[in-house]
Amino acid sequence: MQMLRSVLLVMLLVLTACGGGGAATSPGNEYGTGGSDSGATTTDGVDRSKLASKLYFYNWSDYIDPAILEQFKAEYGVEVVVDTYDSNEDMLAKIRAGNSGYDIVVPSDYAVQIMIAEGLAVPIDKSLLSNIVHLDPNLLDQYFDKGNVYSVPYMYGITGIAYNTKFFPNGIDSWAAIFEPDQIAQFAGKFSMLDDARETPGAALRYIGQSLNSTDPAALARVKEILLAQKPYLAAYNSSDVNRKLASEEYVMAHAWSGTAMQARNGLGDEFSGNPNIAFVIPKEGGMIWMDNLVILKDSPNAYTAHVFLNFLMRPAVSAQNTEYIGYLTPNKDALELISPEVRELYAQGFAPDEAMYQRLEWAVRNEGTTAFDDLWTEIKSR
């Protein structure tokens, strides 16, 4: 019995130690010189002798078509190892610590600014990026990286309401549908808002006719009222698996990114199948536009290979395939015509902005004053 007891105790201790750990995959630091020549000629200007054998890509979850990585490997013999994160801050925390082992990361607009300010990014050598000509000039040269010295656009998206037409046969055109208690009471526990200190208050600010960057105390007080009135009916603040929950009709609507809505509509590879009833709208009061960008890390040992990968991602055909898979919008203007008619039809229905919709979209900026949003968010969550 004594024996049994000690065995149990040891098991208990080991299990306790294991319990907390997630699936931490450390990328390690394989430099690997002299990549294998896959037989392709060097007409594309890529010096294959300078390629590393592996590239470490730290990306958002569900944010690249795995087939593209296969294609890159077939063409250049470089294996791209992907690790994923769910918020810019998670990524920044890991990169800041140094020696992350990653080569490329995908910060959103404001996070690019932070990475540049902290010296975490390396300037991009545009002579290696021949495909940059395919990018839409309207999406280059943004406030967070003037002249695109450190970053190139990867994908962009818009934030509005994704909903199931089965429950909203007349559609949705206003934020009132997700904020007004008399309209949401019937859907109590069946809709979500993004778990984000900027997105959710931002949506409420647009609803009351303000800029989503407004930190005017009176406006924020009103936003707080709106969000607290909404909260009893809310299923969750959720930014992670909204796509699956919309597709399975666990939610009837959600404050969501356009790509999330697209994934709920069309499914995501072989991970889950889509729901044809899902629609997406930027309400008439307006919504947010944002962009994720490719940045090469300062301590990347494989900068050359990283440039080759970036250039590969900017090929119109590759970008079109990628954007169809993940559902977000490509900044690659020459990719648009290569996208399937079905997806382009969805774009026309609101999954992508047209000229008129652009007028209602707004970028979120971060400055000293916007810490007010965090205080507001903490208050919302404290009751």
């Binding site: 149990l8 997630g22 925390a93 979500s192 299923a235 969550k381």
Partner: protein, 289 residues
């Protein structure tokens, strides 16, 4: 002779030191040092990019004590942890007693049943609870089938509590089992012979003698529950902040991130834990006397 003995003692001491060094080094490097850093951070401030600025201040502690929302998070977490611990104890004691009183050949399989869930990652098991409790989930399907109709089971504090109790119950049962297994049940017969009722015998003989198991189980359950943040996010809908959520957000998600304030909250959490556990130990050992 005395010199030889002295030499022997010195040699023993050196050997002991050598044996202790790796463990001590580990503790200093990965426990004491990080703790010191957290304490130091808690008296600093941050800049617009979220970096720690080395400028001593008490602001973080003042913020916590003057703004009700921070205090609320402490109360909510403490209350939930107490509730989780008490319910685990009420569920775990009979369970441990049942296992300890089972025929010898059944005990090991029964204990294995308690341990088997650990073979799956905790996060995965909490996702399984999402599937069970969801609006279109298993339990609601069953409820509808038997004519009760669908209920709102997930995304509330009750669901959080269920997840916590589910996750922590084994940590209560195992130490309780170890204590009850050691208990000599003939003492209960003796108490009955001397005229004690079953309740009296339990309260005055068995409970005090298995108290070490109760204390160990309670502490094992209470500590992780106080700092949890995953369960309230996945089953509670991330709608209210527990201490763990708040600290996690301050460290990782806030714009800018605020390690100093997060550190101050963590330091206070440790102090709260220490005080509560000391009070608990004092109360339970007095009962034993």
């Amino acid at each position: 002779m005395a010199m030889l003995q002295q030499q022997q003692q010195r040699r023993d001491r050196i050997r002991l030191m050598l044996l202790l060094t790796p463990g001590l080094l580990w503790l200093v490097l990965f426990f004491a040092l990080p703790l010191v850093i957290i304490v130091i951070y808690s008296f600093m401030t941050n800049d617009a990019l979220g970096r720690v600025v080395y400028q001593p201040t008490l602001d973080n502690y003042i913020t916590i004590f003057t703004q009700s929302l921070y205090i609320n998070a402490y109360w909510r977490s403490i209350w939930t942890s107490v509730l989780t611990t008490v319910i685990c104890l009420l569920l775990g004691y009979p369970l441990a007693l049942f296992i300890a009183r089972s025929p010898q050949q059944w005990r090991m399989p029964l204990l294995m049943l308690i341990l088997i869930p650990f073979w799956t990652n905790f996060l995965v098991r909490i996702y399984a609870w999402q599937i069970i409790l969801a609006n279109n989930g298993l339990l609601n399907g069953l409820l509808e089938f038997i004519g009760i109709g669908r209920l709102s089971l997930i995304n509330n504090e009750g669901a959080t509590l269920i997840g916590l109790i589910y996750g922590e119950l084994p940590f209560m049962v195992l130490p309780l089992y170890a204590a009850i297994d050691r208990f000599d049940f003939t003492l209960m017969e003796a108490a009955a012979d001397l005229g004690a009722s079953r309740v009296q015998a339990f309260l005055r003989i068995m409970l005090p003698m298995t108290m070490p198991g109760v204390v160990a189980g309670s502490v094992l359950v209470f500590i992780p529950t106080l700092g949890q943040f995953v369960v309230s996010e996945l089953l509670g809908g991330a709608k209210v902040d527990y201490l763990g959520n708040l600290i996690q957000r301050l460290f990782l998600r806030a714009n800018p991130i605020n390690w100093p304030l997060g550190s101050a909250m963590a330091v206070l959490m440790m102090i709260v834990l220490l005080v509560l556990i000391m009070l608990y130990f004092r109360a339970t050992t007095e009962e034993e006397r």
